[in-house]
């Protein structure tokens, strides 16, 4: 028999009171320009990896800024470190360097 009605699923909202920002703090230290992003999306638009997968560097960056770390390490494996994103950024965010550091910090966290 099929059950109808509502099931209670886990909340999808971000609870900023409960978030652990330690990875973000470490990253800001390593890449001082990390926080000046205006989310314009130029990096994602020009990204080489984006053309072959669902990789979205801006989104990953924004997730990390909100302390949402789940699945990011795996996503970041798709980056080829070509540096095109850094070339187009209007805020001179050192994205390529951020990616290297995000990988390092997330690997440490997931250990």
């Amino acid at each position: 028999m099929r059950k109808f009605g509502f099931s209670i699923s886990q909340t999808r909202s971000i609870d900023l009171d409960q978030i652990d920002f330690s990875c973000l703090d470490e990253l800001r230290e390593a890449v001082p320009t990390f926080m000046v992003c205006i989310n314009c999306g130029a990096c994602t638009a020009t990204c080489s990896a984006q053309q072959f997968s669902d990789f979205n560097i801006r989104k990953i960056k924004t997730m990390l800024m909100q302390g949402q770390y789940e699945g990011l390490a795996k996503q970041l494996d798709k980056c080829m470190l070509c540096g095109k994103c850094t070339l187009v950024c209007p805020r001179e965010v050192n994205l390529r360097n951020s990616i290297v550091n995000m990988r390092r910090i997330l690997t440490k966290k997931n250990k």
Partner: protein
Amino acid sequence: MSKIAIIGAGPAGIESASMLARSHEVLLFEKSSTALSNILDKAYLFPDFSSATDIADSLNSKLINENIKLMLNTEVVDIVRNDSEWKIVDKSGKNYFVDAVLITTGYQTFDATRKEELGYGIYKGVVTSIDMERMIKYNQIVNSINESPKRVVFLQCVGSRDEKSGNRYCSKVCCVTAVKQAIEVRKMLPDAEIYIFYMDLRMWGQHFEELYRESQEKYDIRYVRGRISEASSTFDRKIQIKAEDTLLGVPLKMTTDLLVLMVGMEASAGTKSLGCKCGIEGEYGFIKTATPHLCDNETSEKGLFVAGSCKRPMTINDVINDARSAACLISEYLR
């Protein structure tokens, strides 16, 4: 009667000249062959679609005054203090002596060829907002093969808010100019698709937000939040653009017949060089005033005043008010 030199016959220079001429003698220097070049290159003006020619005519009529001597084709190259007087030097080496100086040397638009990735000067289908003003003025909106475009895309913040161009600041006028131009294009091309790609829509002024709403409600202008990272040409000479729809979080590409780059306002060459020579140059080559709140028409030099868009990006409305306030201060100073 005291003598005042005003350098630059834009709206700021003309407005202050007409006020000061009530009780002083004014020498108004202009390097071009006409006054108001930065108004006459436009078709209709925000916020109310006044004709730029009409506004220029009203301003020009203020110059009919025997106390104003307008000197066209006369570029000022130096301003030197000479005891209590000031010496103005023009390009031909001629000197003029005055009691006070007002700098109103204004702005120039960002040179879009500096953003090579956007293809201006390379592909005919990429134009600037100034080119678009001309197209609207002469009712000739065409793509690279002189046909009426089916799709027109505007891109905000070209040469503003951009580290790569060396300009961190916001140019203030281009958001609303894009909305204004998009509406004009719609009136002339009822069937075209019209898009504006933006990072933030800065509708700060009176009627700006209403104009934005009207553009959606009445004129079917579509908005995409994302910066275009590159433009290239297709085999049929359309322009292909790449961006991310940042609200959806997905990359986006499209072709367009026209890509309009909303170029920002930079300090004009005259503003930069005179600012430097007088030791009053500020950030990005604009002129630095004595203090930002209470002494915004004065400089660190006594008797040397400043008004209009040579200080920072401004609208005509800002500029006129600023010119009037400078005129009051100069009158006070000469009393």
